[in-house]
Point group: C2
Chain length 532, copies 2
């Protein structure tokens, strides 16, 4: 039977959901038994608890029916097999193959084995990393490298950066790695203060090889490195690239070695590809990166299950659809109770908002329902002393996605025993779930908490590389299921193009729109001179 | 005439706004003349451009009328004079006095001059800083300090941290200062790797002297410092406190010197008080901090103007009210085109969402309209490669607040000349404003941009301390005007209390709610042991 690609509002189950009974009173229905038993293993040791959501068994049945009508799991499996799911760009979507052979052998038109290509590139990278460790890879003056700077932006930055930070708690850092993304020169200039230019390995990440910011940052950093090398040194020894085989960087005289990615992996889904592999393997060792891959693969396997009550990513996706489309909630907060996940919400913000912030379906026709929500968040307990006021007592209800771990990532030293603090961290998380769900009546309305504010929790034992890989893949799969449900293409990003075109016209001095020229003037661009 | 405290929906101007004509077509009305001339100086050299908002002259007149009916500027002036505006907590709201004598002489019931108290404390702090610089303040073993760690959370962290980061581009750092906030012990353990414990000055910031996370972090850091001192050294020499005069820290044996704040300044408004003064003066010198104060004072003075077309904070506030209450937009994005403002959106997230995320008016009665929006954001151009997809083509319209500077904060060195990059940065900002406002028609709906997505820009010459102070105060005043308009108390935060109570019950083992106990079990607290 051929695949169906219908808009969500055509689904019978969606119409049933729209008509369904009023919300459960969360304060009443949420009890210990529901809290404890509404749980799904998500792979990599993660458990997804959803008892504090605004669901009833009947709503879950309807969400299952909706998932079936929209063929979410079937589409996932077909995607992993290599069907062209990125219709707008006529590409496959194969990031799953970087971490496992999920469903076999995706080949392109010429019979080329794409999964093998990813594995081979990863093998080249891990060999390269070992050579860097052994000082076999050197500068043109024969110095070993002692630090790395990854230059990339968006998908070439947020995921690897968030993961590198997240591993600080559990893993020994083997090699200092820094990140530069913003074209604001401040970003390069700050990183510069932390590194020895004569020993810096630059990892230049741009799939197309043409990303404006990334190339400008590479020029800026390179100029400074060159300034600190002896005149006969070759600065190109300092740069390796991660790019596609058709990119201008492949044969660039500024690049020592290219490592390859391809168009079947979108930037925001590329953390487990070469884009994350080199910097994370270098920072923590290839073994750690392979544990991330293993955890991600476990989550990918868990997402193949058709029963929504046994598929954490699918349940998470459908709860999101329910909150967004039936309850009309505009945003979702991501609240990790782990300081080392400080940048994980920023990664998810990209992953989700760039994938599903779309107004047309995969055939380019406008959809009649809201799609991707706003995603924002900060680690707890910090947020509790900040924006949680609005989450508790604001006029809008914002569903919450908590992330927590039962134990600290490693043992404490006696002189810095943080167990008291860690217990406080988790006690706060437990308390927040109940405070949001159940509230508290108070005769003073200013001190009253209505409750009924839904949340879910992803809980792992420890924030290990494996758990981190599963966390990453859980959200990738959740977002992809939502995209299928909304019948949109989650894998292109046409919304970023217009800004690029207008920017180029300002820089080239060919802007025709008088308002644009005025904006440029307001921002001092005529005073600063122009630049190509 | 006594002050009126009416809910916004009682205002005639509000009802006119609700009935008003359909939206202007932004792509049509926005031309060079409007872009350039719809501008208000905001103090500190900042210009607030609002031509790309969804306003018409008629709507502005109605917003002026609404501001008049709700007596926004009159209330601001009365607040600064010392009337008790924080009704819920029966306190004044006097952070403006930390940076100028705006309207004179706020005294308490006993005739005590509160502005003078703030100035005197700042004088003590700047003297202390100079003594640290001159190595006159020493450890008990006679070592000079060479680094500082500020421990605080929420209002004792986000503002000072965001400002410290923001000054990196323009100012020479005189003294390395770090920040710790999260009770997750990872936060302390990471900072620990960057400092010499025998030379660490700890700045302990908690107004009440009882903030759970802050005290736990102080214990953890102190234990580690002590471990590295000789047995006869006195670890209390390492800690100064910023706290209220009634706090248990005032006479604590763990504290060397207390500096004082008082209850008339709320945490999130305390960046220009002692809470920000010590760490920022230490990091960059008292002169730099005084420039921040001067800039903030200029913005405060600019906010006294009654004509909305001449008061940037008031216009910004009323545009926010219009977007939220008339157009139904749930969020606002803060998008600084300056990498050093990376944490400024997180500060504003607290400032805005904690102040105005309320559902009851200042008399504790429920309000019938949405109040504070969701605030989120990341620096450009990073965001362009991330969540801007949804901002351009998502199903919801999210109003945007851009921040930019005409020139880089200081001159570039020849070997690291970032001017090409800086021009690209500002060209991108100019392009985004036009792309959002005007869009672009395309026969392929997936490549089509409807436009009509409103924005405003705050533009300064350079991101100097003065501009930064004005930026800070602009938003404080904007948020306060909105609170007055919505008739809510922007200065309390009852929404954070319930979580604290439930956390304490978990930690004390006295939790009665079975669901809460189950949550604690899910998070492994029974395995970890309990803690007081």
């Amino acid at each position: 039977m051929p695949m169906r690609w219908n808009n969500m509002d055509k689904a019978r189950a969606y119409r049933r959901l729209r008509r369904s009974e009023k919300l459960p009173n969360l304060a009443e229905v949420l009890n210990a038994e529901r809290m404890e038993s509404w749980v799904i293993p998500g792979g990599g040791g993660l458990d997804y608890y959803y008892g504090a959501s605004l669901l009833t068994p009947e709503i879950i049945d309807n969400l299952q029916a909706l998932a079936n009508e929209q063929q979410l799991v079937r589409k996932y499996l077909a995607m992993v097999k290599g069907e062209k799911f990125n219709t707008g760009e006529n590409r496959r979507v194969l990031h799953h193959l970087t971490r496992g052979n999920v469903n076999g052998r995706a080949r392109d038109e010429n019979g080329f084995n794409i999964g093998k290509f990813y594995r081979d590139e990863y093998h080249r990278i891990s060999q390269f990393v070992k050579q860097v460790y052994r000082s076999k890879v050197q500068t043109s003056w024969g110095l070993p490298f002692d630090n790395a700077v990854q230059i990339g932006i968006g998908g070439s930055d947020l995921g690897p950066r968030a993961l590198a930070l997240a591993l600080q708690g559990s893993c020994e850092q083997k090699f200092p790695c820094h990140f530069v993304s913003n074209v604001d020169p401040h970003d390069v200039l700050q990183v510069r203060q932390q590194i020895d230019p004569s020993r810096t390995l630059v990892i230049l990440v741009t799939k197309s090889g043409t990303t404006q910011e990334t190339l400008a940052n590479h020029r800026l950093l390179n100029r400074w490195i060159k300034h600190h090398l002896s005149p006969d040194a070759d600065v190109s020894y300092h740069t390796v690239a991660i790019t596609s085989q058709t990119s201008p960087l492949v044969n660039s005289k500024d690049v020592r070695i290219p490592f390859y990615i391809d168009d079947n992996i979108g930037g925001r889904f590329s953390s487990t590809s070469a884009v994350g592999a080199l910097v994370l393997s270098l920072a923590y060792g290839p073994q750690v990166f392979e544990e991330i891959l293993a955890g991600a693969h476990e989550a990918d396997m868990a997402a193949r299950e058709k029963d929504i009550r046994k598929n954490a990513a699918l349940m998470d996706a459908m709860i999101g659809v329910y909150n967004r489309n039936i309850l009309g909630m505009p945003a979702t907060a991501i609240l990790p109770y782990a300081q080392s996940l400080a940048r994980f919400p920023a990664h998810l913000q990209q992953l989700d908002m760039e994938s599903n912030g779309k107004s047309v379906n995969r055939f380019g026709e406008p959809v009649n329902y809201p799609t991707g929500p706003i995603i924002f968040g900060e680690p707890g307990t910090n947020g509790q002393h900040s924006f949680y006021q609005l989450l508790h007592q604001g006029t809008d209800i914002i569903p919450l996605q908590f992330i927590g771990f039962r134990q600290p990532p490693r043992e404490f030293e006696p002189e810095a025993d943080g167990m008291e603090n860690y217990i406080k961290l988790n006690a706060n998380l437990a308390a927040q779930i109940i405070a949001f769900a159940k509230g508290r009546k108070h005769e003073n309305a200013n001190k009253n908490f209505n409750g009924g504010r839904p949340s879910t929790i992803l809980v792992g034992d420890k924030l290990t590389p494996r758990a981190l890989g599963a966390l990453l893949a859980h959200y990738e799969n959740k977002i992809m299921f939502q995209g299928f449900c909304w019948n949109i293409n989650s894998f292109d990003q046409e919304g970023v193009q217009l800004g690029k075109i207008l920017t180029d016209s300002v820089l080239a001095g060919t802007a025709e729109d008088e308002t644009l020229k005025t904006c440029a003037k307001i921002l001092g661009i005529d005073q600063l001179g122009t630049s190509g």
